[in-house]
């Protein structure tokens, strides 16, 4: 596993009093899908902004793709990193959907033909093809998020950061995006860092990282993290339905473990059924 993002002893403060990021160490590997959980104000968005050099750390180093983040490398690093922010309203730069998707590509100096091709491709992926010429104030929040996602994908970067990029999407929309991320991961060389409050998304990730008070509290596979009820409650989240169900079933000795993945639960229920 090749590390692509290495963060060591990172500190950051907005007001020089409270540390928003407090001694954070984290390594993310190439082609990994990492999910970051944490309650409101735990510093997730701040971390994302530090990663692309929008904020300057007080102390510590960030290494992206082998380059140490600094004044000289920040533009190169941004070329390799696409990001979708939390608030879709304030990241819509273009005057129409097509213009907005093109904005990042224009900065990368991609040719017009290539841009048109990619816009066509990604607008379909986020199911916004009917809105190509629409102006931003005519779109709903979720639709703007879809456009922002298409814009980040179209830049074709190695690393993608989603900061609650699907928070305004309907369940079907979220599932679409999660499938899309999985596709991207499977057939490409993309590293995905998604900040989320959505446990269904966390279940799909390779690794889940839990942040608290500006630092990494724990990290592990979704199966380990998501079944820890105390930990999940600490993030302001509930455990997945499968975990709840297995807890109940365990009480009646039907199964003897707690399962996060639906198929694992189903398998063990089959086993129980056969044993009977």
């Amino acid at each position: 596993m090749v590390p692509i993002v290495e963060i060591s002893e990172l500190y950051f403060s907005y007001d020089n009093k409270n540390l928003a990021i407090n001694n954070l160490n984290l390594t993310i590997y190439e082609k990994e899908w990492v999910c970051i959980l944490g309650h409101n104000g735990s510093g997730k968005s701040t971390l994302a902004k530090l990663l692309i050099g929008l904020l300057e750390p007080l102390k510590g180093a960030i290494k992206v793709n082998g380059k140490i983040l600094s004044q000289d490398t920040v533009y190169d690093i941004r070329r390799e990193t696409g990001i979708v922010f939390q608030n879709p309203d304030n990241q819509f730069v273009g005057s129409t959907v097509a213009d907005d998707i093109a904005f990042g590509m224009e900065n990368q100096q991609i040719s017009r033909e290539e841009m048109k091709e990619r816009i066509d491709k990604y607008i379909r992926k986020v199911r916004m093809e009917a809105y190509l010429q629409h102006e931003p104030h005519l779109l709903s929040g979720g639709q703007k998020q879809r456009v922002a996602i298409a814009g980040a994908l179209a830049m074709n970067t190695k690393i993608l950061i989603f900061d609650e990029a699907t928070s305004m999407l309907d369940p079907q929309g979220r599932e679409d995006i999660n499938t899309l991320i999985q596709e991207l991961k499977n057939d490409g060389d993309k590293t995905i860092i998604s900040i989320t409050h959505d446990i269904n998304e966390a279940m799909l990730a390779d690794r889940v990282i839990v942040m608290k008070d500006g630092t990494v509290m724990t990290a592990g596979s979704p199966a380990e993290i998501l079944k820890d009820e105390a930990l999940m409650n600490d993030c302001g989240l509930d455990v997945p339905l499968t975990v709840k169900l297995s807890q109940e079933l365990k009480k009646y000795n039907i199964i003897d473990d707690i399962y996060v993945k639906q198929e694992d639960l189903v398998n063990s229920l089959w086993e129980y059924n056969l044993k009977k």
């Binding site: 922010f85 304030n90 224009e106």
Partner: protein
Amino acid sequence: MLDNIKLGQYLHGDSWYYRLDPRGKLVMSTFFIVIIFMANNWITYLAATLFTLLIVLTSGVPLKYFYRSIKPIVVLIFFTFFLNLFFYRTGTPLPPLNIIINKIIVIIYGVFVALLITFRFTKVIDRYIIPKIFKITTLVFILINILLSYGLNYTEFSWSFHWIIYKNALINGGYIILRLILIISMSSLLTFTTKPTDLTLAIEHVLSPLKIFKFPVSELALMISISLRFIPTLLEETQKVLKAQTSRGADFTEGNIKDKVIQIISLLVPMFIISFKRAEELANAMEARGYIPGRKRTSLRELRWRFTDNIYVLSFILLTAFFIYFRS
């Protein structure tokens, strides 16, 4: 309250004029404003009028929209015309209908001012205070000017002072009105038929020679297009703040000047904070997507210069030639 503000004047439609290259339209509309000042007799004005009419009538934009864009400046046209009558004092005078005309005009102004004043002081609820103050001062200004221009000679000045209208003043006034209407029609046509985005792109192209002098043309164009893109969003936001304040008991409809000022401040302060926050987040988003001011970028939109654009430009050159030949 804010619903009736229409943003961008673009009207959806399609015609030969819509399909013209926005660069050509932009440059020619500006050029038109320049050459219209070359017209100075009936034949050149007739040509300019016919030319504009031809374009306007074939552009596919309903005439009522032109009327709408001229309407707000009717008052201005009216004042320009009268100022012209007062100050244009050469040539042959018209026969002295003056006494009656003067009386009528003085009475009209008197009644107008009196109405405005009584309206101002009897009605506490007054939404349109600023335009009214503007109107009153304009009227006072004009009255003072009349008094000054005649008052210096006290033998001439009496309640039935002799106001001589010169023939040229009338004709000239007419030309001024015509000129304003033509200019407004041509410029409105540009904004009616060109999307703001295309217009910005055209501005960027037209100004691009300034890049030699290190003038940030592309940055300026991006700035314009972002501002345009954010106007509706900010209006929406204003409405939200307005509703939020109203729901907390603020009243934006009543009160005297002092209350009004307080009301406006209570609206402006949150709006400023919101705009700054938005601007910062937007700047972040732009930077994150690799925007570097001054760095070369490619562009998704392209402008195409077609054969009709050549003809369009040629028609303006012919009009100019006509002006040069026939002006007196």
